[in-house]
Amino acid sequence: MDLNTKLPSQLIDNLHENEKLKATSRHLRGNISNGLDNPLTGAVPGDDHLLMKFHGVYQQDDRDLRNERRQRYLENLFQFMVRLRIPGGVLTKDQWHGLDILSRRFAERGIRITTRQTIQFHGIRKRKLRALMQGIHNLGLDTIAACGDDNRGVVCGANPSLSALNKQVNELAKETSNRLIPKTGAYSEIWYQKPTVKTDNEEPIYGDLYLPRKFKVGYAIPPINDIDVYGQDVGYIAIIENGALTGFNVCVGGGMGQLDARTDSYPRLADLIGFIEADKAPRLAETIMTIQRDFGDRIDRHRARFKYTLDRLGLDWFNNELTARFGETLGLPRPFKFEQNGDKLGWHQADDGLWHTTIYIENGRIDGALRDQLSGFFQFYGGRIRLTTNQNLQLTHIADYEKSQIQSRLDDLDLLWRLTPHHQANHLLSCVALPTCGLAMAEAERYMPRLLDLFERLKARHGVNDIPITIRLTGCPNGCARPYLGEIALTGRAPGLYNLYLGGSFHGDRLATLYASNIDEETFSILLSPLLEHYSNERLTNEHFGDFLVRQKLLDSQCTSVNLGNPNV
């Protein structure tokens, strides 16, 4: 579709500078190849680092070292984060083995499972980037569109008791991802150094400008909302009738990121707009993406996410546009029920008799002894591996006769406790933040162990240590660990200072409210103590902390409970 016919006033010169960059990038080629070969700097010069995001590669530097290095007349210690595209997070054990080896050869700080169910490598040096990318390619994986203004990796939830259905939904997630990734030959030219034949229409869906901002698609399988379906640009909720997949409820316009300095920036829960048959879901996602492509704000990047497009043009307008483009109207949403957004822990037997279990990984970080233990474990392992959006590792497709053997091997390798982690530890999410993330204003991953310790003591003091409470910790307000869906969330403002959000729901279907700004650790304890005490004395049976705060109106009545149109409510 011709962009100019849609937005005649937005000539490229008037658009945000990133749009000009995309327009002149020759479909994401830019000058990346030359930049990789430039021996004078560990960075990729100019604006090419922005294009590299579309290739799944983030230029970063060790911020702890900036000052020291500037005094030493050295440039920043540039390094790259490489994020893989693993739709649905499913890996074979051979792929795990290969990724383990790549992490040892090329990365620092091991392997990180992300909140979008994929793997990130940190600390890659420029001169080793190509070798790593080729190594990933050799494992049958890639990194395309893992970052950038495009459709990011498609996430997919799981229900451990429905094996065939999991597989079916996962295949759809894969199909959606493959359908929505950029098709440019730039990727294999730059990373595999394979010349490609250029066609006139290299990007039939994206065109020259790609999307205004990132775009996220996710599939959830009730009753587990592990992927936080209301935080996706397009969220699909599997509808299971008589044990079979009939299709998906469709929700649109979720998104976490916000900017503290702008009042017109906010996290938004997705709206439930209808129902679609299963096999049409990938095409529907593409159609919705093209609407955002044509109507998203390309001048103000902070307002470019799909959620703002929806709020600007209205849901009615959107539904009409969607019907016109998709060629049919969506059905009415069907009943479903979510029970939790954490992973379902413990051993579960699926309908096909195969077993699943979850290995708890703190912050998703697999390094040091843990990497060695897992490497040892997977040497004799016959099942499959699934990464979860809660940054854990699931073992799936385990036959009955293997189960006890696996149990004892896990025990032998000191991994068994990870199947039954402490309640609280399994309900934390944090982003990477310092020292490598350029956006971070405060610590996150590195601070989490201390925060957990503090929080556990607080809970113990008030006798609620057996009740899990979701905590999200991020180094900035952008929302990588989906903070605004946590029962408690801290978003970084400055070293040691955070904004405190409270009152999200345990299932991830209500946003948290800003409770206090710029607080330090001590203030955090002072503020939470009375709330936990109250909770300890007054809560209803099985009432979660976030729900309690809202029911008791303890959030200064600022709390807005969003009606999600959930037919069960």
Binding site: L40, Y73, L74, L77, R493, P495
Partner: protein, 577 residues
């Protein structure tokens, strides 16, 4: 084309336009590039020689302040005011006294912290020995976020500090919140009325560095300079770190050209002097005479006598004193045998292992004088006219079964800011840049061999027409040992260095200096053909090997003796150690 009246007079515009009409595409393109490049030069940072041009300096993490600084520069230009723009992270407070007007645009980060990149400037400005800034007129634009408790803290602090250091606030500070644009523009408008127009700001002030005593200093008339800073350029784990020293010339007059060195008077380590005094039982205060001057023994030992290499006279004196049979045997042997023996010991081996009670004056008389050491100057006075920079590597060498540290490098590496150091200029006429500014130069360096080239590059960047310059540099690791990387990158971007090739042998064992030169064989041969001069600087073994390989190749291509004739026509310059 409409005449831009506010920039050109009608006459200028007519002439310009008639000239432009005559140019073909290629000429126009060249001219646009030339003018753009000139404009870039005029935004040079602290190195600028147009010192009474107002300096607009920004501190930023998100580039907002940078954009404001450049916006203001454009407004100034439209009003006929010439200004320099620079990132505060490149500015040293002690260089500010040269400016009449200093305008700061800075944000505050997080809870009252300065933008990370300007930390060095910030710390220097607030240090106890920050310079007086009595002549400077300043104004500050502070950006902040009022949702933080310490709103605009960095701007406020800098504003107060500049006043405290004697500056005159010629326009009150403006604090701006996240919606800064309007208030920033108001402040800029006021500022525009207060800054001097360009025609005027050339004649405003001539207070710079008038030499007080124009007497030339030399080896016998050295000068004492203050150490401004002593930075370790290397990673903390490196055993032979390389330091960057900056010395204040102050009111002294020193003439050094790029390529020249300074002689440094060093002192022996205090613990070595103490060990010798202990072993001999002599009093530190014992008076001795040296070149007709009376001084204390300890001072003579510390500052005037070589306590490393023993002399023949010391050997003889010590064998007489100790009556040690082994020593006597050697003392009675032939001079070559004696010298061979002396190469295996140091002064301390002789005196501490065979203790005796020498006469202080005789001891002083038999020790060799402590010689000053030469270090290449790593800045050009045409770019930084009030400092001398040195690049010093910790010298460690095996001696017998132990490792020793070089006296001079250790002395220099341990200097602290505020310490004094005595030096004299040493001309290196055979290692100067070619007289003709069009002659290409090819610079080979290993390690500290980069030092004189940094001076070359600074000099070249002040020239209107600089020659082509090709730098080939060898060190251990790209990430830790790329000496002066930021300077070199900037010179490359500004086209002062045409090509750079590097070898980091800690990262890859494949390349050597000569192999990366020969990889670009065509360029090498054509530059030499155009009359290029070649420079070799650094560790003797590496650079000699490099040159011999190049010579072999060159002679193979062009005939035996061709390289030697380059050398004879003074086109090959060596500075090896």
């Amino acid at each position: 084309m409409q005449a831009p009246n506010h920039i050109f007079s009608k006459q200028q515009w007519r002439e310009l336009h008639s000239l432009l009409n005559e140019l073909d595409d290629k000429q126009s393109l060249w001219l646009s590039g030339y003018l753009a490049a000139t404009a870039i030069e005029s935004t040079a940072t602290e190195n600028s020689t147009n010192l009474n041009i107002p300096l607009i300096a920004f501190g930023t993490e998100t580039n907002n302040c940078k954009q404001l600084a450049y916006l203001f520069r454009d407004l100034c230009r439209k009003s006929g005011i010439n200004v320099d723009v620079s990132d505060l992270s490149y500015i040293k407070p002690r260089a500010l006294y040269k400016r009449d007007h200093f305008v700061v645009i800075t944000s505050t980060h997080g809870d009252g912290a300065p933008p990370e990149p300007i930390t060095p400037f910030y710390e220097a400005l607030f240090s106890n020995d920050a310079p007086k800034l009595n002549n400077i007129k300043f104004s500050v634009l502070a950006l902040g976020d009022s949702s933080y408790e310490k709103f605009c803290a960095t701007g406020i602090q800098i504003d107060h500090r500049l006043e405290e250091l004697g500056g005159h606030r010629f326009l009150p500070r403006q604090d701006c919140d996240v919606d800064y644009e309007e208030s920033a523009k108001k402040w800029m408008a006021s500022l525009l009325t207060l800054l001097p127009r360009s025609s005027k700001n050339a004649s405003d002030k001539l207070h710079l560095n008038l030499p007080i005593t124009p007497s030339e200093c030399n080896k016998s008339n050295p000068v004492t300079l203050e150490v401004l800073s002593n930075l370790n350029l290397s990673s903390k784990s490196r055993k032979d770190p390389i330091h960057h020293l900056e010395l204040a010339i102050g009111s002294n007059t020193i003439s050094v050209e790029p390529g020249d060195a300074v002689g440094v008077y060093v002192a022996n380590p205090p613990e070595l002097v103490a060990a010798l005094l202990d072993a001999t039982g002599l009093s530190a205060e014992h008076p001795v005479t040296l070149d007709g001057h009376a001084l204390q023994l300890v001072e003579a030992l510390r500052e005037h006598r070589d306590l490393t290499i023993p002399s023949l006279a010391l050997l003889e004196y010590w064998s007489n004193l100790t009556n040690d049979t082994e020593l006597t045997t050697i003392a009675n042997s032939t001079k070559p045998d004696q010298r061979r023996y002396l190469r295996t010991i140091q002064v301390s081996d002789l005196i501490i292992k065979q203790p005796a009670h020498p006469d202080p004056q005789s001891l002083i008389n038999t020790l060799r004088p402590l010689q000053p050491r030469l270090y290449d100057v790593s800045n050009s006075l045409s770019a930084i006219d009030d400092e001398i920079h040195l690049t010093v590597k910790m010298y460690r060498y095996p001696f017998g079964k132990r490792r020793e540290e070089g006296i001079a490098s250790r002395f220099l590496l341990e200097l602290q800011p505020g310490d004094s150091i005595t030096i004299y200029p040493h001309q290196n006429t055979r290692f100067h840049l070619p007289k003709d500014n069009t002659t290409p130069v090819i610079l080979f360096a290993e390690g500290t061999g980069i030092a004189p080239y940094r001076a070359f590059i600074q000099k070249l960047s002040t020239l209107e027409q600089a020659p082509q310059c090709w730098l080939l540099f060898k060190e251990q690791h790209f990430e830790e040992d790329f000496l002066y990387q930021i300077d070199i990158q900037r010179a490359h971007i500004n086209n002062v260095i045409t090509h750079i090739d590097t070898v980091f042998y800690g990262d890859s064992c494949e390349a050597t200096l000569h192999s990366i030169a020969l990889k670009n064989e065509q360029r090498l041969m054509s530059w030499i053909d155009k009359g290029a001069h070649l420079y070799f600087c650094g560790k003797r073994a590496t650079l000699e090997h490099c040159e011999s390989q190049l010579k072999r190749h060159y002679d193979f291509c062009l005939g035996e003796g061709k390289w030697t004739s380059l050398s004879k026509s003074k086109r090959i310059h060596r500075n090896l150690y």
